[in-house]
């Protein structure tokens, strides 16, 4: 529609719609559900995997549709602050993935060409769109989903992130 609000607003709006659709009006539950977004755990293999990337001399970054405050809270909650060199939010460009301006933001901020970025997502649409933009992509297909029917094609698939360092040549 050509207008933008951030992911905290979108998440709350979607929750309000869902609550209304099932006839619930429970402000305490709504608050609890929203707060859970601020204390997300990482998957168990993530901390060690990030440590291996950084030990191998690579820069690490999140590129997320989440709002900055959501990302800061989630990174801190998952104790990943020291494992990440950059936490990039789409709010800096004011439009959500899969718009190519978001992927461009990462290349610009990291000061590298798109093909120098190895991008991972468990969202198939994100993996395919990032590949279409020019990133090298490993689709973390945790739930054995079928491929998307959109432009782009991930270079590789993994079931989780544990084998990523080996896949990209780190010991």
């Amino acid at each position: 529609m050509g207008t933008h609000v951030d992911f905290w607003q979108v998440t709350g709006d979607a929750l309000d719609f869902a609550l209304a659709a099932v006839g619930l009006d429970d402000p305490a539950m709504r608050r609890r559900l929203m707060d859970l977004y601020l204390e997300l755990d990482a998957y168990p293999e993530v901390p060690a995997m990030l440590g291996r990337l950084k030990a191998g001399g690579l820069a690490t970054a999140i590129l997320s549709n989440g709002a900055p405050a959501m990302l800061d809270a989630a990174v801190e909650s998952a104790r990943l602050t020291d494992s990440l060199d950059h936490v990039l939010s789409v709010e800096d460009v004011g439009i959500f993935k899969p718009d190519p301006r978001v992927y461009r933001l990462a290349a610009d901020r990291l000061g590298v060409a798109p093909h120098e970025i190895c991008f991972q997502s468990s969202n198939a649409w994100d993996a395919f769109a990032a590949s279409h933009f020019g990133f090298r992509v490993v689709w973390i297909n945790r739930f054995n989903q079928p491929p998307e029917r959109i432009p782009g094609a991930p270079d590789r698939q993994l079931g989780d992130l544990a084998a990523l360092p080996e896949l990209i040549g780190l010991s």
Copy 2:
């Protein structure tokens, strides 16, 4: 992602994804399901309602995300050819609703201002976005859905189209 394919392609892609997700590979069923899109019925109140609009001197039009061939087939199958002055497809602008360029297409083709168009949709997102663009909108809320949380607000709601002529002042 900045690329566009028409709704026939999107519909087939979505069906292929859904079939793959449940492990089905049945080309005959796929063909039958796609063909059903070409022989959609109108809701029962529609022919008489359109007749009253035209008897009242109003121009009638479809403004649809569907591809032209899909619309032509569906209009013919529902025997609405003589009841419609215009059948407008988003393919003429190459982007789907709710992009405002689609609503602009209708105003341009009909040669009227947005507020001179009375727009109906049972898709809440379409009704809200059309209102945000500037149409007068009656949301045909057939399934008693909660309101969307997006810009715009339909002027009125109806459960079906039967009462539309009276609502807009026709006898």
